[in-house]
């Protein structure tokens, strides 16, 4: 799927490597997780109630539309989370293994 966000400046930053749904994503240091993901992909998650993919809305931590899952079942608000090397993100909830955390 085509990316949603387009970089207009500040492209000389160091590359940070993430994974989204098993695919590598090259982000830049200083990116929010949301910008990193949407510069490579068209959406962040799917609405729980069946009205399609979502790609955030307010970018300022108010609408809570951009929460993503990590492979480990953690929740991250992507617009207010800075990228870091090795983040492994899913656009769909992972199969939760309840006993993993016991």
């Amino acid at each position: 799927m085509a990316p949603r966000f387009y970089r207009l400046a500040e492209t000389g930053r160091k590359v940070v490597n993430l994974t989204l749904d098993g695919q590598p994503v090259a982000a830049l240091e200083g990116d929010t997780l949301m910008v990193a993901l949407l510069s490579a992909h068209g959406h962040l998650r799917r609405s729980e109630f069946g009205d399609g993919p979502r790609a955030g809305f307010c970018l300022m931590g108010a609408c809570q539309d951009c929460w993503v899952w990590t492979e480990d079942g953690e929740r991250l608000r992507s617009c207010s989370t800075a990228v870091s090397d090795g983040l492994n993100i899913r656009t769909n909830p992972p199969e939760v293994s309840w006993s993993d955390v016991l």
Partner: protein, 475 residues
């Protein structure tokens, strides 16, 4: 609070935007060491939001005509950091019994206060349109954040739609940064601006800047249309936005193509925290907004609670600086500090000017309340819970819910993650239209903690201690 030594006076300021920074500065100058709690990673608020450290764009590129004001706020705050207790990236999630409950890095910090100054700012005010829940639709403020703080555009061909000064500002910022701007579609008619001009003259520089933005857009060949009504954001579920269908003032239907929509109808105050302090609210007929009641200097109806900036009244960033100072002075005065009455009078006068300007903006760019009744039933109103206008209307017509909290209980509109920030105002208009009552009678959603999602894994020593005490006692 009266008679307390100033160095023991516990003042908590929530928010480090222009109001919070000026409040902190005023308190520090008087010898108080306030605690400043801010959700942001760096101070400045939304309007003067800073880019990450490793970005290199100049303040002029980021803030345009407001560069020196932004820098003034940033420099002031940086100069205060040693004289305040600063908690960045910290969310105040509830307020109770003279204590703020805050969370940072999944750890609870509970802070007692003698006085609380809430500078919680504003977010975009939204009117739903069919298709606004698709990927690729962003709030105007959000579109600006993308550019300002991350140097990205929300799409290759962006349609700007809504009303208010931010519409023209953000569109021109996108244009200048090299992004594709397809059109600027304003729901307000041009004549409203002419009528409001005398009031807008209270801030002539702001008025002139606004005109410059419009001229720049037109010079670049961007269609700027006024008096339109959006009908539908088009696209498909998988790839998101592909365009917008709208009606002109003359009633002609048009469709334009684009891969992103930035939309907003001016701003709404963030009032959940004020609500949690149990402040009284009043409905403002002119703006169709519920505001916490404040006196001339920002005192709320709850003792020792003060409100400043756009969270108290939507008056803009420059007024926020003034009201930040003014509420801090009111707070000092209430603590028994002698403050200059002349300074208070001068600040009140400044505020009067900004109120006049804000009234002009409100008249020039009115909230399109009338759209609510015309939204097709299938339009999603509550983005969080994906509840449609039709479902909301059914709770009014079939279930008798004519009040916002009742309709929320029945339909889940406003019950989702955002706590009604983006649907409550339009929701109230839909309820009122369906019930045939004034929107003031539909009421407002009561604030409920946590004001933003709270991690269940939050660590708190007091809770741990409370539980072990009970367990010990029963052994």
């Amino acid at each position: 609070m009266v008679g307390r030594a100033l160095n023991t006076l516990k003042v908590v300021i929530i928010g480090a935007g222009p109001a919070g920074v000026r409040a902190a500065q005023t308190l520090v100058a008087a010898g108080v060491r306030p605690t400043v709690i801010d959700e942001g990673r760096r101070a400045g608020g939304q309007i003067y939001r800073r880019q990450p450290d490793n970005f290199t764009r100049s303040p002029e590129t980021l803030y345009g005509t407001e560069a020196s004001r932004a820098q003034g706020i940033h420099d002031t705050f940086d100069g205060l950091v040693d004289q305040i207790d600063y908690l960045p990236e910290t969310l105040v999630w509830n307020i109770s019994d003279g204590r703020v409950f805050a969370v940072s890095e999944k750890r609870e910090t509970t802070i007692e206060y003698d006085a609380l100054i809430i500078c919680s700012g504003a977010t975009d005010r939204l009117m739903p349109v069919k298709g606004w829940d698709m990927a690729g639709v962003y709030s105007l403020g959000g579109s600006q954040v993308a550019l300002k703080s991350q140097a990205v555009s929300i799409g290759q061909r962006v349609i700007f739609m809504g009303t208010g000064p931010l519409l023209y500002l953000v569109a021109s910022q996108y244009l200048k940064a090299g992004a594709g701007v397809v059109a600027v579609l304003d729901t307000s008619s041009f004549i409203k601006r002419v009528v409001a001009a005398p009031k807008l003259m209270s801030a002539p520089d702001a008025l002139i800047n606004g005109l410059k933005f419009t001229l720049a857009l037109k010079a670049a060949g961007v269609p700027v249309l006024t008096g339109i009504r959006p009908l539908e954001i088009t696209g498909d579920a998988d790839s998101g936005v592909s365009g917008l269908i709208f009606e002109t003032g003359a009633g002609e239907r048009h469709e334009i193509k684009g891969d992103a929509v930035a939309m907003g109808y001016h701003l709404r105050p963030e009032t959940q925290l004020a609500d949690l302090t149990r402040c009284e609210f009043a409905f403002d007929e002119k703006s169709h907004l519920w505001y916490p009641k404040v006196d001339e200097d920002g005192r709320a109806t709850t003792a020792n609670v003060y409100l400043a900036g756009d969270g108290a009244r939507i008056l803009g960033a420059r007024a926020a600086e003034v009201s930040g100072k003014l509420t801090a002075l009111a707070c000092l005065k209430d603590a028994g500090v002698s403050v200059s009455d002349n300074e208070i009078m001068a600040l009140r006068q400044d505020m009067a000017g900004w109120k006049r300007f804000a009234a002009g903006l409100r008249e020039a760019f009115p909230w399109p309340a009338e759209q609510a009744a015309k939204l097709p039933d299938e339009t999603v109103v509550c983005r969080c819970e994906a509840i449609t206008a039709g479902e909301l209307r059914r709770t009014v017509n079939a279930m008798g819910a004519k009040e916002a909290n009742r309709a929320k209980a029945f339909s889940r509109v406003g019950m989702g993650r955002c706590q009604g920030r983006y649907c409550a105002l339009a929701g109230a208009e839909i309820i009122a239209a369906a019930a045939g009552i004034p929107v003031s009678e539909a009421g407002r959603l009561r604030g409920q903690a946590p004001v933003k999602p709270l991690p269940i894994c939050i660590e708190d020593d007091e809770a741990a201690a409370a539980i072990s005490t009970v367990r010990e006692l029963t052994k």
